[in-house]
Amino acid sequence: MFQRDVFIDQIINSLEKDKSIYFLSADFGSPSLDVLREKFSNNFIHCGISEQAMLDVATGLALENNKVFCYAMAPFLSLRAIEQIKCGPGLMNLPICLISVGIGLGYADAGPTHYANEDFACLNSIVGNSIYTPSDNNTTKLIANSFLKKPHFSYVRLDRHQQPDLNPEIKTNEFEEGFKVYGEFNKEKNIIISHGKIFHNCLKIQNNHQENIVAINLFRSKPFPKKLISLLKDSKKILVVDEQTPGGNLGSNVFENLSKNNIFPKIKIRSLNEAYVFENGGRDYLLKNYGLSDDEILSDVKNL
C-alpha cells in the first residue's frame, strides 16, 4: 500500500465522526482518495490545478476552525505555493496539513520539473511548522493520527512508492520523540541520520556494520527532537544522508540544531549532487549516479 493511501485512510476513519475536516486536492488522486470523495463528498474540495488557490482556500477554511489537508505532488505544493504557505498557515498559525507526495527523485524518470529535491530546504525555512518524512507505512499512519488528534501546521513528505516496513517499527509511544535509533547506541560509533526512502539504504549499511555504525531515523526533523540533542551531546562523527540537493537539506538542519546547543561533532552531508537530473534509468539508477550510491554512503560513514 502507498503511503498516501495509508494517510488518507486515517482521515477517512476520522471523518466518520469529525465533520470539521476538509480535504483539498490540486487534481492529485489515489485509490483511497476515491473512497473519501465518494463517501464524504461534502468534505472534499477540488481546487483545480491551482496549488496557490488551494492554499488560500485552505487558509479561509482553517480560519473558520476547520482541520484542513492540502494534497498535491511535492514539487508543486512546496515551491509553487510557498508564499501562500508562509502567509496562510505560517503567519496565522493555522491547522493546515500539507501532504506532499513524491519527494526526492520519486517521479523518476519524469525529469527535473517533477523532482522535489529542494522542498525540505524551502519548508524548513517557514516558521512554525512541523516537518515529517516517514520511511514506512506505520510511521505514516502515526503522523496522520497525530495531526488529527492535535491539528497544527504540518508539512508531511510522502514517498511516491511503497516502502518496506521498518524493523523494528516505530511504536505509538515512541512517536512523540520524533526519531528512532537502529542499532545499539554508543557515542563512539559513527552515526548515520536520515529519513524517507533513503533511510532504508542507510539501514542496510548499518545492519552490515553493526559494531561500528548506528542509524537514526529522523522522521520528525522539525521541531528538532530535544531528546535527540541530548543523545548526540557527546557524539563524535555523524553522517547525514538526504535525497535532496546540497543546499539547506537535512544535513543543514542537523548541524543548525546541534550547533545551537553547542554540540559540534564532525558532520558530513551526503546528498544529491548540485545538478538538475535529465537522465533516465529509474530512481535507484539515478540515486546511484547522482551522489547517493550505497558505496558512497558506506565510504563516507567509514571515513568520517
Binding site: Q52, D56, G60, L61, E64, M92
Partner: protein, 268 residues
C-alpha cells in the same frame, strides 16, 4: 444611517487618518483614501452585520490590499471593537495597530499584505458557510493591481465554480500602481470584460459616490452567485496634493503649507 451621515463619516475618517499619517510618518494614504467610502458604506451602511452582544461582526471583511487595512481602524474604534486608547496610541508600542492589518488586531479577519491571497481565502470561508448553511457573508476588497497576480484568477475561478453567493468582491480601480498607470505599465483593461468572461455578475460604479456604493451593495445582496463590484476610484481621493499621484502610494514628507492645504481639503 442616512447617506449624508455616511458622507460625513467618510470625511471625518479621512481627516483622522491624515493626522495618523503625520504622526507615524508612514502608511499608504493613496490606497486608503481610495476605499474610504466603500468601507464606510459596508460597515456603517449595515451590510457588515454587527453582533452587539458579542461585540464582533457577523460578516467578514478581507482587505486583500493589506496596505489599506488601516482604513478599518477608525471603524473598529467607533463600533467599540478596538478601544479608544488603542486608536489614540496607534504609532506607539502600546497599541496593537499596525500599518498592515493582521489577525492579532480585534476585528481584522485576515493577515494580509502580500497581494492576491484574499479571494481564495474568502472563497474558503464562504464555501464553509455555504456547505454548513451558516448565514454569513464575506466581503473581499482587492486593488486592481492584484489582477496581475495569478492566484487572484485562480480564486475567481474557484468562487464561480462553487457559486458562492455569499462572497462579495469589490475591486478598487484607481488606475495606478507604484510605477505608473496600469495602462502604461501593463494593460489590465478592459477589466469588466475579463471578469464577466468568467461568468461573474459585475457592475461598474463610482467608488466615491456613497449612493452608488450602497445601492449596488443592496442590489447585489440577492444575487444567487458570486458577484463583483468594479469601483472606479481616485488614488488619494480628497487630498489635492495626493490625488491621482502615483508617488502618494506611500507617505511622503510634507511641509507646513502642504499640511495646511491638506487639512483644509479634507474638511470639504
Amino acid at each position: 444611517m442616512k447617506i449624508n451621515d455616511l458622507k460625513e463619516i467618510a470625511k471625518k475618517y479621512r481627516g483622522e487618518m491624515f493626522e495618523k499619517f503625520l504622526l507615524t510618518k508612514q502608511g499608504h494614504p493613496g490606497s486608503i483614501y481610495s476605499i474610504i467610502e466603500i468601507v464606510v458604506a459596508l460597515y456603517h451602511g449595515g451590510f457588515v452585520r454587527f453582533n452587539e452582544k458579542d461585540n464582533r461582526f457577523t460578516d467578514k471583511v478581507l482587505i486583500s490590499k493589506g496596505h489599506a487595512t488601516s482604513a478599518l481602524y477608525p471603524i473598529l474604534r467607533d463600533f467599540g471593537v478596538i478601544s479608544k486608547e488603542q486608536w489614540i496610541n496607534w504609532g506607539t508600542k502600546k497599541s496593537p495597530l499596525r500599518i498592515f492589518g493582521n489577525t492579532s488586531i480585534p476585528g481584522i479577519d485576515i493577515t494580509s499584505g502580500s497581494l492576491g491571497h484574499c479571494i481564495g481565502a474568502g472563497a474558503g470561508m464562504a464555501l464553509h458557510y455555504k456547505k454548513n448553511k451558516i448565514d454569513k457573508k464575506v466581503f473581499v476588497i482587492i486593488s486592481e493591481g492584484e489582477l496581475y497576480e495569478g492566484s487572484t484568477w485562480e480564486g475567481l475561478l474557484f468562487a464561480k465554480h462553487n457559486k458562492l453567493a455569499n462572497l462579495k468582491i469589490i475591486i478598487d480601480i484607481n488606475n495606478l500602481i507604484i510605477l505608473g498607470t496600469t495602462d502604461e505599465c501593463l494593460k489590465l483593461n478592459p477589466i469588466e470584460d475579463k471578469i464577466k468572461g468568467l461568468g461573474i455578475k459585475t457592475k461598474t460604479i463610482d467608488g466615491h459616490d456613497i449612493d452608488q456604493v450602497t445601492n449596488t451593495l443592496y442590489e447585489f445582496q440577492t444575487i444567487d452567485d458570486v458577484s463583483c463590484i468594479l469601483a472606479n476610484t481616485t488614488k488619494g481621493k480628497g487630498a489635492s496634493i495626493m490625488e491621482d499621484k502615483k508617488h502618494w502610494h506611500y507617505w511622503n514628507p510634507m511641509d507646513e503649507e502642504q499640511i495646511k492645504i491638506t487639512r483644509e481639503d479634507l474638511k470639504k
